[in-house]
């Protein structure tokens, strides 16, 4: 086993008053190997963004707080570091891009200056060399005539171009991990195709590891090697991409895959999971999927299923499928 680049271990995040907190992320664990690509899928409110913000300790406190767990980056628990060291890590070691690029670009600063600033934060580099680096990055992300666009402002770029500028800015200091929270959700399909293509190219050329957050299983399947499936603030399944799609073990993952129409299926009706998604933190006892699950047994309402291992590459939190898989499944020690 190679040492993971990032190891999130038993993370829990709470919001609200300490006396009566809401636990929106609970017991989340997963790893990213160096240069690997891991995806997080889950429905709205399942805790994907909160999990990724926790890695960089960007949860605003109050109202939120990390109440449990470890976040190890290259073996160092980031939660043990003094807060003052986090800005050094952000950008240089771990970079993040957000869903809405306009809100994270400064509207009154030129594109060239903004990317240049990102370099200045972490590296001592003479102005001329910095300029060259910025141009090189813009070229890498496919901005035509990059030297001519240095003095443009964000509003002069289209949505897809702004997203590519964000990626250029995130990668300018060669971080080892890029966290991308729904990087293509706001984009049209043909522009999304450009950005996904760019992510592949960057992984090949720069060896950057990626944590990609999306509710679109197509996007995840395109980029990632492993997938973390979240439901109501918990990880319900975690596996290599092929096992998730070919042999899912959690009833939610199974239902989700059957309920999405595919480009080549000829079903008359889609499979539907009954009911609606519970709010993160609202299920206090038992399995968070119990209300909607077709396989449930009485035990599910009483006891939260732990993560069971289904072979070396797959884990899922379900009493019933773990029982069915029997000998292979054993409880994973946390």
């Amino acid at each position: 086993m190679t040492v993971p680049l990032l190891k999130v271990d038993n993370l829990a995040v709470e919001f609200g008053p300490k006396a009566n907190p809401i636990r929106v992320v609970d017991g989340v664990s997963f790893e990213i190997p160096p240069a690997g690509a891991v995806g997080i899928v889950g429905e709205s409110g399942s805790g994907k963004s909160i999990t990724s913000l926790s890695i960089l300790r960007l949860i605003s406190e109050p109202p939120g707080r990390i109440v449990q767990g470890r976040i190890e980056f290259n073996g160092v628990n980031l939660l043990d570091l003094p807060r003052s060291e986090m800005p050094d890590i952000r950008g240089r070691d771990i970079a993040m891009i957000f869903q809405e690029p306009m809100s994270s670009l400064n509207p009154v600063m030129t594109i060239g200056d903004q990317i240049g600033e990102a370099i200045k934060l972490h590296e001592d580099m003479p102005g001329e060399k910095r300029r060259e680096r910025v141009i090189e990055m813009l070229r890498l992300v496919g901005i035509p005539d990059p030297a001519g666009r240095l003095d443009s402002y964000p509003h002069q770029f289209s949505g897809g171009m702004r997203q590519r500028v964000m990626i250029a800015m995130a990668l300018v200091c060669n971080p080892k991990l890029l966290i991308a929270d729904e990087p293509t959700t706001a984009l049209d399909v043909t522009i999304q195709a450009q950005v996904l293509d760019l992510m592949h190219k960057l992984r090949r050329t720069l060896n950057t590891a990626v944590l990609l957050i999306s509710h679109d299983l197509g996007v995840i399947a395109d980029v990632c090697e492993r997938v973390v499936v979240m439901y109501a603030g918990r990880v319900v399944e975690e596996a290599d991409i092929r096992s998730i799609f070919r042999n899912p073990q959690h009833p939610y993952t199974r239902g989700l895959l059957q309920s999405i129409p595919k480009l080549d299926d000829d079903r008359d009706r889609l499979y539907q999971i009954p009911g609606s998604v519970p709010l993160a933190g609202s299920v206090k006892k038992g399995c968070p999927f119990y209300q909607r699950c077709s396989l449930r047994i009485d035990k599910c309402a009483q006891e939260m299923p732990p993560m069971f291992s289904f072979g070396p590459d797959q884990r899922a939190a379900c009493w019933v499928t773990a029982g069915q898989a029997d000998a292979k499944a054993k409880e994973v020690a946390l």
């Binding site: 522009i191 197509g218 399947a221 395109d222 309920s259 998604v277």
Partner: protein
């Protein structure tokens, strides 16, 4: 053409902003919809796809005359709607309903579910007593899978999927024969999307209304549509039976769009056609074929001459100079030579 329920001819909508009065500045013109001709048949679902801003919602609203066209004609069955006086148009609305994308924004927060669903019943004077009204509402709620006991609640107390059910109940309340659904599942959670898609299909089978289904998810469209129309910058660039559009797309934009959608399957990484550049602004639609600035197969003629929408296979029309009319399947035309 007796088969069609809705038919439009050369339909156009240009939005003008910044009047010519203001210091002689030329008015800003957005050609949101331009020269669209097509029909929707009885009981059929025509899906409308295309990228953001290409004019899908505008076209949908034009069909119901929620906004007035600046060019062309709209027919409902045999009645021309285009210049129908307000009173007669109001009567027509009974047959023409709409379902919106945003179940949050489109339902008035102050009214109860019963009031929202009953609104069209009241407008068209369909129920005579309060008792009958409540019975109708309860019946409609059952049809869309909502418990009638929630009748007196407010929409904010419902989830996104439940609100979309309320919107559907309101739309079918007056038994319309044509419904425009503008991205009805785009705002919903993935696991709830399937519920709403199934519901709409079940209702359509029972009631046999026709659908114009606006969407950007091509897999959803393939599941629900009978025919598909692809829009680019206000124009229809390809239209035809679903099987042909997905199996043998003829317009290079349709081909790129279909190849761009990432498939939820790790073993089927599509070979994507990556289009250069961005969608041009509808304020400056390129000359000739409006797709020529991004087209991977463009020739000189493309920037000069606008290609007409012409038949390229039975029932399939494409607007490209190089779309192959009645293509011969390659496997049959070319003898197989081992490489």
């Amino acid at each position: 053409m007796t088969d069609s329920i809705i038919r439009v001819e050369d339909l156009g909508k240009t939005f003008r902003s910044g009047s010519s009065l203001s210091l002689g500045k030329p008015a800003d013109e957005v050609r949101a919809v331009d020269g669209c001709s097509f029909s929707v048949n009885h009981g059929e679902t025509l899906a409308l796809v295309g990228e953001s801003g290409c004019g899908k919602s505008t076209l949908g609203r034009l069909l119901l005359r929620l906004i007035d066209p600046t060019a062309g004609k709209i027919f409902f069955e045999n009645t021309e709607l285009t210049h129908l006086p307000a009173g007669r148009m109001r009567d027509m609305r009974r047959h023409l309903q709409m379902i919106f994308q945003d179940p949050y924004g489109s339902l008035s927060p102050r009214r109860t579910v019963a009031q929202i669903i009953a609104e069209p019943l009241d407008v068209f004077g369909i129920v005579r007593s309060r008792r009958e009204r409540r019975d109708r509402v309860a019946d409609l709620m059952n049809q869309v899978g909502l418990s009638p006991s929630f009748m007196d609640r407010h929409p904010r107390q419902f989830s996104g999927g439940q609100r979309q059910r309320i919107g559907i109940a309101r739309a079918i309340a007056v038994d319309p024969s044509f419904i425009v659904a503008d991205e009805p599942v785009s705002a919903l959670d993935v696991s709830v999307q399937a519920q709403i898609i199934n519901l709409m299909q079940d209702l359509q089978r029972q009631k046999n209304f026709s659908f114009l289904f606006i969407a950007h998810d091509l897999a959803v469209v393939r599941h629900i549509a009978d025919r598909v129309a692809v829009m680019y910058l206000g124009r229809i660039v390809e239209i035809g039976p679903k099987k042909q559009i997905y199996g043998m797309p003829q317009h290079p934009y349709t081909q790129a769009l279909l190849s761009a959608a990432p498939e939820p399957d790790p073993d089927r990484k599509a070979r994507r056609i990556i289009l250069e550049g961005d969608v041009p602004s509808p304020k400056r639609v390129p000359s000739g074929c409006s797709f020529h600035t991004r087209c991977p197969i463009r020739q000189d003629i493309c920037s000069v001459e606008r290609p007409p929408l012409r038949e390229v296979a039975t029932g399939q029309l494409a607007a490209c100079h190089f779309a192959n009319p009645f293509p011969i399947p390659v496997a049959k035309a070319v003898p197989v030579v081992p490489a």
